[in-house]
Each structure stands twice: as structure tokens, then as C-alpha cells.
């Protein structure tokens, strides 16, 4: 499986370390909240709200350079909007990879 990276954030920062720190701090704070909201909505069977969660999470997936995972997230969001949870295990595996990555940053 592909690994997360912060190439995009570094390019965006242009060497500005304070921005890099700021954006990583926001990611570390916002990602677990979105992940939790995703799980809550999925468990309660509200697929429309779950799709909204995936929509937000897929931006973070792209920020961390996970191109293939992003495609999975796009397809999973579509599935959820059609009432299907196909690709949920693949998506949750992506979330776990990001969780591990952010925890060790």
C-alpha cells in the first residue's frame, strides 16, 4: 500500500516552517474528529452523512499524497450516495494508515 507523505505541504510552505507546523497541527486535530464522525454515521446507517464525511476525508487523503487511495475514496463516496458500503474496508484501511502516520509525525 502507498505511504502518506507531506510533499504537497512542503511545496505549499515554500520553506515556511511555521505554516508547515500549523497545517500539520490542524490535520492532527481535524482528521481524528472527521474519522470519528465517519464511524458514527456509518454505524448508524446514515449513508448520506457518511458520504459527506468521506468527501471531507478525501481532501486530506489527497493532501497526504495518497493518489490511489484518493481514487478509492471517490468511488466509496459514490457507493455510499447510492446506499452501498462497498469499499468500506479498503477505505478504513486508508484511514488507519493515515492515523498511524499522523501519530508518528
Amino acid at each position: 500500500m502507498e505511504k502518506p507523505n507531506i510533499s504537497y505541504i512542503e511545496e505549499l510552505s515554500g520553506g515556511d516552517e511555521s505554516f508547515k507546523t500549523k497545517i500539520l497541527d490542524i490535520l492532527k486535530e481535524e482528521f481524528p474528529e472527521e474519522k470519528k464522525s465517519y464511524q458514527t454515521n456509518l454505524n448508524s446507517g446514515n449513508f448520506e452523512l457518511t458520504a459527506d464525511n468521506v468527501h471531507k476525508l478525501k481532501h486530506k487523503i489527497s493532501i497526504l499524497g495518497l493518489d490511489k487511495s484518493y481514487e478509492i475514496a471517490v468511488a466509496y463516496e459514490d457507493n455510499l450516495r447510492e446506499g452501498s458500503t462497498a469499499l468500506s474496508s479498503e477505505f478504513e484501511s486508508i484511514l488507519q494508515t493515515i492515523t498511524n502516520y499522523l501519530e508518528n509525525l
Binding site: 504537497y8 511545496e11 505549499l12 510552505s13 515554500g14 515556511d16 505554516f19 500549523k22 497545517i23 490542524i26 490535520l27 486535530e29 481535524e30 459527506d52 468527501h55 471531507k56 478525501k58 481532501h59 486530506k60 489527497s62 493532501i63
Partner: protein, 236 residues
């Protein structure tokens, strides 16, 4: 250019803010996690450009645009390329950025905004030329923006920090002032007849001395406002 950022994601707002900081002539006045807060800001501040997320809970970017009477230039920011076609339906939208956004593409969008021929439209008070936004008013009730057809409003009453908006369909209690709503209403339809009342002059049933009857409400008319009211009537 003075701009604001609207996005429910903190990460996205921080990124757009960073991109704005790279361009000398962009000043970020503020950023907002939802459209409702931004509408309040826009009512009191002049903005040249909005970076607007489409996909937000409760109130999407497109819903937001429809509430603006004179929208400034807008650059959409989204994780989804599927909305591009809908974006072309709005003159105020000058570009469409798919996240994650990189500086060269961002710069191009800002250049497009600067060179865009779109200018804010001055509303026409002529009934026959009213745009859809002139015909509608959005009021904030319990963090939801409710659309009211302006022509259906027959009476607005001040009640402390609130106003009671009476329409043919139902009544709305809104946290606002008569002065604020008066600015949003067409002059040819509405008149403040008393410090606590604005009436729709087309809905008057009769006038008696210092009061008017509208539907079943008898509304006082202050002495100072009576001449203007009489001028509006088609007297035989």
C-alpha cells in the same frame, strides 16, 4: 483585492490562506467555516473575491451564492470536479479549483478574477426587471436560512431585538431590526409607517385617520409618515 474564504474544513481554509499570502495584492479579510457567518460579514463589509467551498453541510456553496443580492467575484474550491457544469450557470463564478490546489493554478484563478468582465449588478427596482434575488429574502432562524417571497410579506413588526415578519403563508420571528430589513425591501412596495411597523402598501385594505388595516391587523401610522403614505396611494 479584498477576499474572504468559506470552507467547513480548517485544513482547507489554512491552505487557501497560505496561497493568498503568496500573492501581494490579495488581502484576506476573514475566513468562515460556514456560509451563514459569511453572509453576516458580507452585509457589513465590502469584498472583491470569495474563495468558496461547494460541499458544506446544511448550506452548500451554490445555496450561498443564491442568497447574495450583489455577489462579488467567486472562485469555487472543491474536492469534486463534478460541479463544474453547474458553476458555469453563475456569472459571478470566475474559476473552479479542484483540491488540493497548487500555487500556479491558484495564481491563474486570481488573475482570472482580476481580468474578469463580471461586475456586481446594481439591482433594478422596476418590478418587471427584478432578478430572482430581488424577489426573495433569506432570514436566519435557528441557524437555518429560510427563503421568504418578498411580495408575500404584508407586515413587519419590531419586537425588541426581534422582528415579526408576517406573510400570506406564515409568520417568522427573526433576530434583526426594522432598519436592516427595510434596506433589503423594495421601496416601491414597502413603507415604514410607524417606528415599529413596515407595511406592504399593496396590501392595504383601508385607511382611517391614523391607522391602516392590513389583512386583520390595524396598524398605527405616525403623523410624520402619513404624508408619504398618502403620496403612495392612487387617490381618486
Amino acid at each position: 483585492m479584498k477576499c474572504i474564504i468559506i470552507d467547513d474544513e480548517s485544513t482547507a481554509r489554512a491552505i487557501i490562506n497560505q496561497l493568498c499570502s503568496k500573492l501581494d495584492d490579495l488581502i484576506v479579510l476573514d475566513e468562515f467555516p460556514n456560509a451563514i457567518e459569511a453572509i453576516k460579514f458580507l452585509n457589513q463589509n465590502e469584498v472583491d473575491l470569495i474563495f468558496l467551498d461547494i460541499h458544506m453541510p446544511d448550506f452548500t456553496g451554490f445555496d450561498f451564492i443564491q442568497t447574495l443580492k450583489n455577489p462579488p467575484k467567486i472562485v469555487l474550491t472543491t474536492s469534486d470536479a463534478n460541479f463544474a457544469i453547474e458553476a458555469f450557470e453563475y456569472d459571478c463564478i470566475v474559476d473552479y479549483l479542484v483540491k488540493p490546489v497548487l500555487l500556479p493554478r491558484f495564481e491563474k484563478a486570481v488573475q482570472k478574477a482580476k481580468s474578469s468582465g463580471y461586475t456586481e449588478q446594481i439591482s433594478d427596482t422596476n418590478d418587471t426587471n427584478q432578478s430572482s434575488t430581488d424577489k426573495e429574502l433569506y432570514v436566519n432562524i435557528d441557524r437555518r436560512l429560510i427563503k421568504i417571497n418578498i411580495a408575500s410579506i404584508y407586515l413587519i413588526e419590531a419586537k425588541g431585538d426581534y422582528i415579526l415578519v408576517k406573510t400570506e403563508e406564515k409568520n417568522y420571528t427573526v433576530h434583526s431590526t426594522l432598519k436592516k430589513i427595510e434596506e433589503k425591501l423594495p421601496d416601491n412596495l414597502f413603507l415604514k409607517v410607524h417606528r415599529s411597523y413596515i407595511i406592504n402598501v399593496k396590501q392595504i385594505i383601508d385607511i382611517e385617520d391614523n391607522s391602516v388595516l392590513i389583512k386583520k391587523d390595524v396598524i398605527p401610522v405616525s403623523r410624520s409618515n402619513r404624508p408619504e403614505l398618502m403620496k403612495r396611494l392612487n387617490l381618486l
